[in-house]
């Protein structure tokens, strides 16, 4: 299999690495690749198909297989896309997309990036590949986008063609970029043409009347829409009950199909605007899964800059700023972060007792931080004056708010004791465990107690 397709690079979180100017257009799950002739390559089963402006990517969906087996077909190597024939047979089958791929003489997919000269045309054969869509995605929409991307030939120009939209699942991106009727809502620049005071008043009047009328229409339409939405909600509630009670009544044989329909149901609930719970078995809507991986990749750089731990709300702002358009909601962010525990990504979400939620590196373990705090607190300077959150922040290299959280956690583990004074919070190393309750004045020769006594007694 790997000999036929080009290799696609994948990040450690399972998201594909895009080329320069390459933009993701559409995504389908549950796709098989089958050749017309089985000699070319063994069929690839049940993966995620991603269409971009430059390539067609296939990722295996189960995380058990290593992410190194992702494959790609450059759109430049596709010579023809067959239009889908709607026959009686196609109603019962899963939808199929067939296209013809050029093959270079050594049996691999023709790679326009390599130096070989296509126009020499010596013995370039072609192979028909069929993509069978077993998942429940929008096949016709995908086909349309596929043809558009292929015709646009984005790889031949250096700029992105107009066909790609922002990252995400390729939904119509008409949102967020509406045209207003001119700015300056708060500034009165006085540039309205005046035809006398009466003219102004009349204009105002007309404007109010037209707004009023259109508003009345709007309210009527709104009412109609809401009554329809109410029906949707009751239906969605039934679906949600089915989701929650689904696993108890199914036999183990239909698990794959179950997962697919559960994902689909959650997609629907999401579209209507109902937040569905991410149950332990299901992995949430496909959108959230992809978002979760994207987020894991993105958050790596800020984490390093911030010393291994970053506030969730800071991460949210950074991510949305980076996206520019098609921002995500806070609920989306929370869902995506909670999905991390299902995937094998190097970051995790953590909630402190005070309610603050942070994203931290899995390698940035608590034990390591406590060891550093302990070494900080046993320095002679710290034994005399204690450790304040700012001292800890400077030593550990993290933000003061995070440092305070760490110190509080260390205190709850019994490592430190707090001292509240007019200057604020200070933390000292905890000496109580060393004191033997039967003999409280006995000081062991080795141990923190003696170090503390020495440090304190040498001060003025």
């Amino acid at each position: 299999m790997s000999n036929f397709f080009s290799k696609a690079e994948v990040t450690s979180s399972g998201r594909p690495v895009f080329l320069r100017n390459e933009v993701e257009c559409h995504l389908l799950s549950g796709v098989d690749f089958e050749p017309e002739d089985h000699l070319q390559f063994p069929p690839l089963k049940s993966g995620i198909l991603i269409l971009t402006t430059h390539r067609l990517l296939w990722l295996p969906s189960s995380s058990a297989t290593a992410p190194t087996s992702a494959s790609a077909i450059p759109l430049a190597a596709i010579s023809h896309i067959f239009s889908s024939k709607k026959s009686l047979k196609s109603v019962f089958h899963s939808p199929r997309i067939r296209f013809q791929v050029l093959v270079s003489p050594d049996g691999r997919v023709f790679d326009p990036g390599s130096g070989s000269d296509y126009s020499s045309g010596s013995g370039s054969r072609s192979v028909v590949v069929t993509a069978v869509i077993r998942g429940k995605g929008d096949c016709d929409g995908f086909l349309v986008k596929f043809c558009d991307s292929w015709r646009a030939k984005a790889w031949e120009s250096n700029e992105t063609s107009g066909s790609g939209s922002g990252s995400g699942s390729g939904l119509a991106s008409g949102s967020g970029a509406g045209t207003g009727t001119g700015g300056g809502l708060y500034s009165s620049d006085g540039s309205v043409r005046m035809v006398g005071v009466a003219g102004i008043l009349r204009k105002e009047q007309e404007m109010w009347e037209s707004t009023d009328k259109s508003l009345q229409d709007a309210f009527q339409d709104l009412n109609a829409l809401m009554s329809k939405a109410k029906e949707m909600v009751t239906l969605a509630e039934k679906m949600r009950q089915k989701l929650l009670s689904g696993t108890s009544s199914q036999t183990s044989g239909n698990n794959d199909e179950d997962m697919g329909s559960k994902e689909e149901m959650q997609d629907w609930l999401l579209s209507v605007g109902i937040i569905s719970p991410v149950t332990k078995e299901s992995a949430g809507a496909l959108y959230h899964q992809q978002l979760s991986r994207q987020l894991a990749d993105f958050v790596r750089t800020p984490l390093e800059r911030a010393g291994g731990m970053i506030n969730l709300i800071d991460a949210y702002c950074l991510f949305n700023r980076a996206r520019g358009t098609e921002l995500i909601s806070p609920d989306d962010m929370l869902k995506a972060c909670s999905l991390w525990e299902k995937f094998d990504v190097p970051v995790m979400l953590r909630k402190f007792d005070s309610g603050v939620m942070v994203i931290q590196n899995k390698s940035h373990s608590d034990e390591e931080v406590f060891a550093r705090i302990k070494s900080l607190a046993t320095k002679p300077e710290a034994l005399r004056n204690g450790v304040s959150p700012t001292d800890a922040a400077m030593t550990l290299g993290i933000a003061p708010a995070m440092a305070k959280e760490h110190l509080l956690t260390a205190e709850s583990k019994g490592l430190l004791c707090r001292d509240i004074s007019p200057d604020g919070f200070r933390f000292y190393i905890n000496l109580f465990p060393e004191i033997d309750p039967c003999n409280i004045y006995f000081v062991k020769d080795f141990g923190i107690c003696s170090t503390w006594i020495k440090a304190v007694s040498t001060s003025g």
Binding site: A172, G174, S175, G176, A177, G178, G180, G183, L185, Y186, S187, T211, L215, D217, A218, F219, D221, L222, N223, A224, L225, M226, K228, A229, K230, E231, M232, V233, L235, M239, S261, L270, S271, V272, G273, I274, I275, A285, Y287, L312, I313, Y316, C317, N320, R321, T325, E326, L327, I328, S329, P330, D331, D332, L334, K351, S354, G355, V356, M357, G424
Partner: protein, 249 residues
């Protein structure tokens, strides 16, 4: 089904189960198809609505708030996800999420000054300054909605009412009723003295001092010992009407 003993009986029972299962699957499939159809109809209705009234929602804040109230009554949340129909067709998702991010930035920038509590009016004013070049007007209702969405990310974003004013809290400090009472009292002049607190709220000396000290610790209050009769005044930047941003941010 007649129950028969032995292998025959087991086979019959298995066949019966299979038949029921197939029936169940068919019913489930019908239900799924029905749902798909309903969803498609709903979506096309929403598209019609959006085509006619998308601009109204953007431009008219009272219509917008009416829209939100009705959504809440019905039980849908148009801001739940960027991928929902609402965000896609009406385009209000981006507006609110962008607003949320700007609110977080403003709260962070003013935190050294007011300790993490800011008046909603003040916030709106700063927002408008920041968004001078944007097309859409921002009203208090929009800010409140954006903040209620931010609540899910932890970090203590919340709107609290102290007397007539609404304050936005952006730190995880918990404020109890005593703190609120003092904040309310401070709205009159921007500051309070311990005596005033004891007198007006009929508290004991200890309680007043304790609460004022906590507010001081959290950075919400500032001390002024220069008053002419020597009493210590506690100023609260979050409720006073002094403009906290000098130059343009």
């Amino acid at each position: 089904m007649r129950r028969r003993p032995g292998i025959g009986g087991l086979q019959t029972a298995a066949a019966a189960r299979d038949q029921y299962r197939v029936l169940g699957e068919n019913v489930a499939k019908l239900r799924t198809d029905l749902m798909k159809e309903q969803l498609a109809t709903f979506r096309s209705q929403l598209e019609d609505f959006a085509r006619k009234h998308k601009n109204d929602i953007r431009k008219n804040p009272s219509f917008r708030s009416q829209f939100h109230e009705m959504c809440a009554k019905v039980g849908v949340d148009p801001l739940a996800s960027n991928k929902g129909f609402w965000a896609e067709l009406l385009g209000i998702g981006d507006f609110y999420y962008e607003l949320g991010v700007q609110i977080v930035e403003i709260c962070l920038a003013t935190r050294p000054l007011n300790g993490g509590l800011i008046d909603v009016q003040e916030l709106c004013k700063l927002l408008r300054q920041k968004r001078k070049h944007d097309r859409e007007a921002v009203y208090e209702d929009d800010c409140l909605r954006a903040i209620s969405k931010l609540k899910t990310l932890g970090s203590g974003f919340e709107v609290i009412s102290a007397g007539k004013k609404k304050l936005v809290r952006s730190v995880p400090t918990e404020l109890n009723k005593d703190h609120n009472a003092i904040l309310e009292l401070a709205q009159a002049q921007g500051y309070v003295t311990a005596d005033e607190v004891e007198r007006r709220l009929s508290w004991t000396h200890g309680r007043a001092n304790d609460t004022l000290d906590t507010l001081l610790d959290e950075g919400l209050a500032m001390i002024d010992d220069g008053h002419k009769d020597g009493k210590r005044c506690y100023w609260f930047p979050c409720v006073s009407s002094i403009s906290s941003f000098g130059a343009d941010g």
